[in-house]
Point group: C2
Chain length 307, copies 2
């Protein structure tokens, strides 16, 4: 059950601001985090690492952006154009600079002169990984397993604190044969539920789909659900009726293998799967259900998080 | 002295790729990091925290972007337009999407239709902080001290691994009276040298200036040096002749106070100063001077970093 909503109009986001856990920046979905918020998150990441430790994943950390060429190759603009963020720069000379400053001075749109750079913000932690993995040649017989964490961007301004434009995503990504990667996903479906149980949070697991764009997108979504390619672990945060996906368990079949030329030991197109952890979402779920006073959280939860 | 350069043409960047410490993405200055690279960095951050612990700074962590409105107010486009990165998005309807995909298909420039969003990439960790601090009202008599860390972006593609487009910056930011902030900077000038000494790295401290754009920029740079507003702790990484600024010690006078309406307890415009630590640069300095085999680093250095 969710902690009782105060009878006033104070939203959960306002409460987080008031307690200083999140910090306003003037843009919906773009927030600073307090030291306490980060400490809860560090505890959560360490817990995930303990659950995954036996698998000995290779740790790789990418910055919050990727090469535009790889992004184009990924087909992201086909499926989720509305969410992407391209990075643009000023490439002019001193005269252009004078005119730019005049436009700013006159409150005009100075951004029109910005030119797209070679980088695009990372939409999901695993996107920069696939071409990197493909460059290493055929996968070994046992396949590969990576451990990722990065800030990601999705352009979806919202007052729901669980839907931020810049947020962190932890992922384990498995590459190999269909059997190897589906076994990995089945394992994490079990582990994920146990892990969230350790945190004393209510949850449900359900089949899900990605937010594909437009009419073709609707068909892709139906297909994804029919094939049970995506499961989500949902926790009520902003509402009971529309719980928030905090973990997701994805089987990509040969989609990324084909797209980026990733091959198994036998030379076949590799299959991939990933489990993703919404860093901020789990922290927010903890704050919602156990309250914003961490000292009063259940002892077992504090122990699990090392708090 | 720098570790001997191999007689082949292998650059330091190539060596880092070969050892898997940095990972290519196809864009100069945009690299993945290995688990070992990150572990060295974690050790460095913990060392900085130990040096700063007695000051009890308030920890705040911002995502790698800030509000465009704040960015515009900051005057960054006046001084460093060439380095900024604005984030642009697709805001079209399904018909626009069809035409976008055709452009991509035909290898055309699909980025022209992207529109500037409300966010801009963070150019230095402290930029999002000032308006946040100002909203809290007059500073208390003792001023304030913040502890920041974030990914930052600067558009300067380069093959020097110490000049990355996405990199992390740790900062302590002091706000208060001129005396309070200059004393803070003087303290860190001492501490910073001791800290880098603990890491067994050669260094020099020198007066410096920011890379202001254009002809007016040259005057600003001369002025900044004349007034000794910026010091850098330099370590040779890519070359002996042009050592790399790994720490910087900046006195902003009332620049940010005026710009963002930050006031001291007495209602005067607050002064600010900061010490910044180039996260990747210090890691790279360690790898350059002690070698890429961490097990063979001096025991004292490994102890300082908890490795």
């Amino acid at each position: 059950m969710l902690a009782k909503t105060p009878t006033t109009e104070t939203s959960f986001l306002d409460e987080l601001f008031d307690r200083g856990l999140l910090i306003e920046t003037g843009v919906d979905g773009l927030y600073g985090r307090s030291g306490l918020f980060e400490a809860i998150g560090d505890g959560f990441q360490a817990l995930v690492s303990r659950y995954g430790a036996a698998d000995k994943a290779e740790v790789v950390r990418f910055p919050p952006a990727m090469a535009r060429s790889v992004f184009e190759q990924s087909g992201y603009m086909k499926s989720f154009p509305q969410l992407a963020g391209t990075v643009h720069c000023f490439c002019g000379n001193p005269a252009d600079h004078v005119s730019l400053l005049q436009t700013i001075e006159q409150k005009g749109d100075w951004t029109e002169g910005q030119k797209a750079s070679d980088v695009v913000l990372t939409p999901a932690a695993c996107y920069p990984l696939y071409p990197t993995a493909a460059r290493r040649g055929d996968l070994p017989v046992e396949g590969r397993l990576y451990d990722l964490l990065s800030y990601c961007f999705r352009h979806e301004p919202s007052k729901d604190p669980a839907r931020q434009q810049f947020f962190r995503m932890r992922e384990y990504v498995r590459m190999g044969t269909p059997d190897q990667v589906t076994e990995f996903r089945a394992n994490w479906l079990e582990r994920g539920q146990k892990l969230i149980g350790d945190l004393g949070l209510p949850f449900a697991v359900d089949v899900a789909n990605d937010p594909f764009f437009g009419r073709t997108g609707k068909m892709l979504a139906v297909n994804q659900r029919d094939q049970r390619l995506k499961f989500e672990l949902l926790i009520p945060i902003e509402s009971e009726e529309n719980p928030t996906a905090c973990l997701s368990f994805n089987y990509h079949q040969d989609h990324f293998g084909k797209t980026f030329g990733l091959t198994s030991a036998d030379g076949e197109v590799a299959h991939t799967a990933c489990v993703g952890f919404g860093h901020e979402r789990v922290i927010l779920a903890l704050l919602k259900h156990h309250g914003t006073d961490v000292a009063r959280w259940p002892a077992s939860v504090r122990t699990a998080l090392g708090l």
